[in-house]
């Protein structure tokens, strides 16, 4: 079970309190009727599905109830950082900085 930092509660809480909510930073178009069929299809269905760094949404369902964003590595399953809904996609530097604060040590020889 992972520990996930809720950016609203400002606390690490157990994964069971959270639900996953898909890829982040996909805003609903302000005027869907202005979109072509292909554009609308892409909005609905096309996701990046990356190997490695993924910007995604979670909800602290059984906690404060808030949706928020996270940067997680889909290979290692490790969270680099979490941030509030509506905040911009963090830069590489911000992710590296947040990641180094939470990274674990190597096994001592």
């Amino acid at each position: 079970m992972l520990l996930i930092r809720c950016p609203y509660c400002e606390a690490e809480r157990p994964e069971v309190e959270f639900t996953y909510a898909g890829e982040a930073h996909i805003a609903r178009p302000a005027d869907p009727s202005a979109l072509s069929d292909d554009e609308w299809r892409d909005f609905l269905f096309i996701r990046t599905n990356p190997r490695g760094r993924h910007f995604e949404r979670w909800r602290h369902m059984h906690g404060c109830g808030r949706f928020f964003n996270a940067v997680r590595d889909t290979v290692t399953d490790k969270f680099a950082m979490t941030y509030k809904a509506g905040e911009p996609r963090p830069s590489d530097e911000e992710i590296a900085l947040a990641g180094s604060a939470t990274s674990v040590g190597e096994a001592r020889p």
């Binding site: 079970m1 992972l2 520990l3 639900t19 909510a21 805003a27 609903r28 005027d31 869907p32 009727s33 979109l35 069929d37 609308w40 299809r41 609905l44 949404r57 909800r59 369902m61 109830g65 808030r66 949706f67 290692t76 399953d77 490790k78 809904a85 509506g86 674990v104 040590g105 190597e106 096994a107 001592r108």
Partner: protein, 999 residues
Amino acid sequence: MSNFRIAGKGRVNRSRQVRFTFDGVDYTGYEGDTLASALLANGVHLVGRSFKYHRPRGILSAGSEEPNALVGTDRGNGRFEPNTRATVLEVFEGLKTESQNRWPSLTRDIGAVNDALYMLFSAGFYYKTFMWPKSFWDKVYEPVIRNAAGLGKAPTAPDPDVYASRFAHCDVLVVGGGAAGLAAALEAGRSGASVILCDEQSEIGGSLLSEPAAEINGQLAWDWLEDANAALAGMPNVTVLPRTTAIGYYHQNFIGLCQRLTDHLRIVPEGAPRERMWKVRAKQVVLAQGAIEKPLVFAGNDRPGVMLAGAARTYLNRYGVKVGNRVVVVTSHDSAWHAAFDLAKAGVEVAAIVDVRGTVPTQLAAAADALRIRTLIGWTVTGTRGRLRVSSVRVNPVGAGGKVGSAETIACDALLMSGGWTPSIHLFSHTQGSLTWNEDGQMFLPGRGKEDCCLAGAGKGRFGLKAAFEDGAAAGAAAAADAGFGVEPPAYHVEGELSFTGVTGRELPTDRDLGHAKAFVDFQNDVMAKDIRLAVREGFKSIEHIKRYTTTGMATDQGKTSNINGLAVASDALKRPIPAVGLTTFRPPYTPTSFGTFAGYNKGALFEVTRKTPIDGWAEENGAVFEPVSLWRRARYFPQGGEDMHAAVARECKAVRSSLGIFDASTLGKIEIVGPDAAEFMNRMYTNAWTKLAPGRCRYGLLLGEDGFIRDDGVIGRLAHDRFHVTTTTGGAARVLNMMEDYLQTEWPDLKVWLTSTTEQWSVIALNGPNARKLIEPFVEGIDLSDGAFPHMAMATGKICGVPTRLFRVSFTGELGFEINVPARYGRAVWEKLFEAGQRFGITPYGTETMHVLRAEKGYIIVGQDTDGTLTPDDAGLSWAIGKTKPDFVGKRSLSRPDMLAADRKQLVGLLTADPKTVLEEGAQIVLDPNQPVPMEMVGHVTSSYWSAELGRSIALAAIQGGRSLQGRTVHVPMPDKVHSATITGMVFVDPENTRLSA
């Protein structure tokens, strides 16, 4: 019965004798014995038959790595467990055990014919032999093979035990209570950190329990151990868990521990859990799991009486049991010499020490001489004899250039072997930490880790007590420091260390044909060295493939004693170094773990949450038959006087249509939507228009996903300008609220509106039937119920039976209907009051089945039954529910995608069977031409189908391609008995003019 117990040795409690049985024979042992030690004390080595060849097998080890000695255990009261390892099973008075995989008996086993046919059963035998005919697989081959091969039989009765679980958070978790783990726990404990120390054995101490002669800081090992245990017990920040196996190591230092609570008890207290799963989150983890001794690979290495030298030493020193009267030791490692020495000192005849190395440390040779033990340095073992117990060993000198000389036979009743030690890196491997090959020690050692953990002692190749203590203490101190607690680790002074040099053997050299040698690598899965070589000859190169082809390392012991030997044989055959061949991945659980432990409390009544409404108790008392609806249990129907469901539902339907029915609708999801932007939010979420809905009025609401498909529906009432009472389907309540919160929080955070679940705030009593108003009128205060003032789809707040109510005039049956919301705690009392008063109308309680029939007669859909996530509003005939002038709502844009406008989409229609008595199966497929060849073209399926008492015939709803344009057309429904024909109709079967609604 022969007695192999040695006076004055061991830690078992000689004052507490226990009686137990094995295969129906009575034996005695002592408190503190394992089944293995107690059987050995009685001279019993033969305990089972092997998996494939049914070869007699004995006890190989003294720990959880045991591959052979698996028994069935009966603890009484239906508590039976197969495949219990005799080497960890603690005996207690009255324990019943039995051998496995033998018939008719352990000593005369018919299946042993497989052993004579062993050349047939080589690697890949099944794949090669049982190729065809295909149909034989299920019916002939597999049942026969499964019956002949295998381990214990699974119990058929339900597990009577209960299980527990517990979460724990600590600074330092120490896995393993041997020298290294104890030292680590002591240092971490002294630092003030919160510490959990777990060990799989019944006693903390690990190898110290087998080393009474060692001296630690001037104290004998067992005295030191007693003090150490007392010190830990005196630290309130330390939790010590014996009988607790760390089974899996998961992300972020989350470790599963299986604690065995009552298996060792003669009398289990009522209600006491058998096992507890600890779910530990540790800031730091110290893995001090020690090392596992490797067998040597030679012909006949699996006979009862052939066992690991270290195990023999443990049986002697810890349990006071000699494993034989005349033993031979064969080894490639120093440590086995100490087993010979200890046994000789205890009066056991040691016929010879055979060491396959060319030279051995001089002090070992000198010590052997002093004990007058014959030593054969640079010799090999090439065979053993003895049907049910080893009786002799065949040994040969190995000359220069590896030439094997002529054989000599030495009589013995036990053969002790050691091929060196394998560090237990299983848990480290669970973390996906990398492993590095240590050429000097011929072993894999932990490399880069991925978690906050470290290893200590023999578990990372630091052999010997001093090394283990100091490494453990350093690891404990470092872990505590990393968790924020400082402490300086002490030095340890140890006397009486074992010698720990050796070589890791390949298969031992022999003068015989290797292709016929029964030299076992994996004892539990009956894999021989020749099987691995065969796999290599047949082209397998990766150890992962060799493993699967030969099944080596795939048994319940996960190859704890066999992996490295298997790898060495494969490496030789492939002529590639071991690290190039690779190591298979270890996976949780470390040792076999009961399903009960994983289930924890979640069995029986606590298996899953069963949600009950406030009225559920009344339904139960009145004989309701229940059905699960999401997590709820709902009354399905109320049979009277031996009625079956069909009769009960027909009666309930009739009562509603003719007079009055009462229905518990409390499970309906309810969401209160409040705020100045409430109507705007509703406009954006639901397809319908809400702005003009007046307070005191309701509207049917339809909710789509952004993909345009129907997600949910329900009646929504407007309580005030800024307040809506939304209802959802029972199963959709949580999902709908989550979806609404998603849009509100992330797409429209500017809207001033808030959502609160009120599902359980309100009990909902639905009254339906022509007499519904007459019943409630006397009980309602503050609401004019006349049709003019309170028409269909009106709602109001007031009082009923003296308690507050939100009263809705709605109907899901087509009859005059009310849904009475009252605060949950009053639900049952209001229900009972109305039920009593309703007697003059013949009020009839009805359940979900009747509700389904009544709504289907009216063509009202149930989302999730008549829709399946691929139906649009138009497909479901609900285009009228779309606010055409609204610029946007969730899902609107999708409704104009080309696929959504196609003419051949499945559309909901009614179906009337040609034979009115035929009730179609829900889910049955529909075809247009019953005579077309198979596979037929399926154009739709039945979504709802019932007997309608009102119409005296069956009715059905179905989703059919272009269905609405096929009105009147005959379609065909293949069912198991025959193909039925039916006519496509409209969806409303009863009162299409809705005259009853406004009665």
